[in-house]
């Protein structure tokens, strides 16, 4: 690798219940993080089954291996903060409170999905929960999040925008323009780079020539942090620091969450190009397994406690699948509706 590393490499979470409390998490929060990670993985595993059953049209994308990163960052959000999660960030939707049955309906292109069958897979968001729906052109949502942060700055609101992108999308101009503008104006925005090491089949050494993508933050005049994206508490701690710093006028931060994409780019891709040893090595750092162990060691998670959470998640997913499957197909007669917004569409919390 060329270039000089300038980003701070965050220390692992380690920690005790007391230490984590200082970061703002009590025991119930810790268990909620665990639930959210299990739901996140569960939604995507069930999605795979739906796909094999032929119930999901088009392709299907997951974020296996990214559960700690997505749930960790979303847990650090304030209630009025906004974000632009991508296709590896299901955990953000779950943590913000999107109901799994609506996600299954979205996967299947049904009427009750957030886009009512107009868009597929994770191209969705509930604006009432402060999320903005992604587009396929990555990292187009970076300038959009920067614009949200600009609105907060103009109105002098203590709100923060969080923008996601991947190490693949880091190569595109939108990332540069968005981060540069944010740096110049010291805007309340946090950039989260999901570095899962593969842009489809392209490895990192063909994507960038610095040691860490977070090193680029220095070029935009703000801090860069590298964090182990399989360590949910470390991700949470770094995201919380960055979000609160932005809220207090301290400007942007770029956090690079290092993970491995544990499946292919999409369901059709068997990822033959990823060395088997790499998968094996990262499987040992499975984010959910790591966190489960931590909870058992530090937060009195017992067999009974685990069973209770697993049972809750299983029932939630079963009920959700059933409810989604009962959702009707969209009505083709509605295709023309809503191409243009009406004044009534502006009657939302954001526009008041």
């Amino acid at each position: 690798m060329r270039g000089m590393a300038t980003a701070r490499v965050a220390e692992p979470s380690g920690g005790s219940l007391q230490e984590v409390k200082e970061w703002g998490l009590d025991r119930e929060d810790l268990l909620q993080i665990y639930r959210n990670m299990l739901i996140t993985r569960g939604v995507e595993e069930r999605g795979h089954i739906l796909y094999r059953q032929g119930k999901i049209p088009g392709s299907f994308y997951t974020g296996r291996g990214n559960e700690a990163s997505s749930v960790g960052v979303a847990t650090a959000f304030g209630p009025d903060d906004v974000g632009t999660p991508l296709h590896r960030d299901m955990g953000v939707h779950i943590t913000r409170g999107v109901e799994p049955w609506r996600i299954f309906a979205q996967y299947m292109g049904r009427q009750d999905g957030p886009t009512h069958g107009r868009d597929g897979n994770v191209h969705m968001a509930d604006s009432q929960l402060g999320l903005i729906a992604m587009v396929s052109h990555l990292p187009a949502m970076l300038p959009v999040a920067v614009g949200a942060a600009l609105a907060f700055r103009i109105r002098e609101e203590k709100r923060v925008a969080v923008a996601w992108y991947g190490e693949g999308a880091a190569a595109r101009g939108d990332a540069h323009e968005g981060m540069n503008f944010a740096g110049v104006r010291n805007l309340p925005v946090v950039f989260i780079c999901d570095n899962n090491q593969w842009a489809y089949s392209t490895p990192t050494h063909l994507e960038y020539a610095v040691e860490h993508l977070a090193d680029r933050a220095q070029a935009y005049g703000f801090d860069g942090v590298v964090v182990d994206g399989t360590d949910v508490l470390a991700v949470y701690r770094e995201a919380k620091r960055a979000i609160e710093k932005a809220r207090e006028g301290g400007g942007p931060t770029l956090i690079e969450c290092q993970t491995l994409r544990m499946e292919g780019h999409a369901v059709h891709d068997d990822a033959f190009y990823v060395p088997k040893e790499l998968f094996e090595r990262w499987a040992e750092r499975d984010p959910i397994e790591r966190y489960r162990t931590w909870l058992r060691e530090h937060a009195d998670l017992t067999d009974e406690g685990e069973d209770e959470i697993a049972g809750y998640v299983k029932k939630l997913l079963n009920d959700s699948l059933q409810r989604a499957d009962a959702s009707p197909q969209p009505d083709p007669a509605t295709l023309h509706e809503g191409v243009y917004a009406t004044a009534a569409d502006l009657d939302t919390p954001h526009h008041k």
């Binding site: 107009r118 191209h123 729906a133 396929s136 300038p143 939108d174 540069n180 191409v339």
Partner: protein, 321 residues
């Protein structure tokens, strides 16, 4: 009423909305201290402050993407492209994000993009284009192309009020050349309504932007009663006004400064062919720029932009048909 140039009328409309509505703000390259490359926002930063008249880095993607994000949070951004030509750098944010967000995700994107467009002063291939048809083709976008100072003020206000992404094509050649009486109070001109620039009953000319004046000059030079329909907005466009005029005159010439193939005139021609074929007494005629980039040399540019003589020739052919 006050006599304003086309440029002053745009400034007046924008200033009116910024005074009335705190959500409205301006962003773009050199729009603040410098007042914009063409001085449309001259004095705005003094009046509204540096956080409502925002000088951006040279970043069209961040300007339009940023406007989109700010609009989603409830503001009413008016973004300036220094020249309409540079909107190509922001294509993704207009077409991929802003245009589709309401339809697919239920999120309205009320932004206005000001686009100084058009040729006639040796701006060359990158400072002279009229890209309205490219955007009129995109479901979810609106395209506005005023020709008069009165419409420029009323339409910029309508564009800001509109809950959709609106592209406001302001013709550079009209900026200081065209003056007119403009009401001092706030008013709107509806998007999607054509204006009859001059009435006539023998030939209809359908046009917009600077070509309205080319048509007017040409009409003076022919011995026929020419009706000039100024579309004012090409998306949505006033199909009914065009069809009514065509049914009255039975002969029609479509005139635009943009290139020919796939230009918006083709859509108008196709609609007339579908819906008013029986009313026509002559084949529809299109006069447009040729399918080339916009040239730099005055001699070449004159050959490129439809001239009064070209329109006169077209009108005469229709008269004689």
């Amino acid at each position: 009423m006050a006599e304003l140039t086309y440029l002053q009328a745009i400034s007046d409309g924008l200033r009116t909305e910024m005074r009335r509505d705190k959500r409205v703000f301006v962003l773009g390259e050199d729009v603040g201290v410098y007042g914009g490359a063409f001085k449309v926002t001259l004095g705005f930063q003094e009046e509204f402050g540096a956080w409502r008249v925002i000088d951006t880095p040279l970043s069209e993607t961040a300007i339009v993407g940023g406007a989109t994000g700010a609009a989603m949070m409830g503001l009413r951004p008016v973004a300036e492209m220094q020249f309409a030509d540079f909107v190509s750098c922001a294509w993704d944010h207009l077409v991929t994000v802003a245009a589709k967000q309401r339809w697919r995700a239920g999120t309205p994107v009320p932004i206005v993009l000001r686009l100084p467009s058009g040729g006639g002063f040796s701006g060359g291939p990158f400072h002279s284009q009229n890209p309205e048809s490219s955007f009129a083709h995109i479901p979810g976008l609106k395209c506005v192309c005023p020709a008069t100072p009165e419409d420029a003020k009323g339409l910029i206000i309508s564009a800001i009020e509109d809950p959709n992404p609106v592209l406001f094509f302001e013709h550079k050649h009209l900026y200081r050349r065209i003056k007119g009486e403009v009401p001092e109070e706030r008013y709107t001109v509806p998007i999607g309504k054509a204006r009859t620039h001059q009435e006539g009953d023998e030939i209809t000319v359908v046009t917009w932007g600077a070509m309205v004046y080319t048509a007017e000059e040409a009409a003076k030079q022919v011995d026929a009663s020419v009706e000039i329909i100024d579309l004012r907005t090409v998306m949505p466009w006033d199909k009914q006004a065009v069809l009514e005029s065509v049914r009255k005159t039975s002969k029609v010439l479509v005139l635009h400064e943009d290139t020919r193939t796939g230009g918006f005139g083709a859509e108008i021609a196709a609609t007339i062919a579908e819906e008013a074929f029986e009313d026509l007494d002559a084949p529809l005629k299109r006069i447009t720029a040729p399918d080339t980039p916009v040239p730099f040399s005055p001699v070449l540019e004159k050959a490129y932009i439809p001239q009064v003589d070209d329109v006169v020739r077209g009108l005469k052919e229709l008269i004689e048909y």
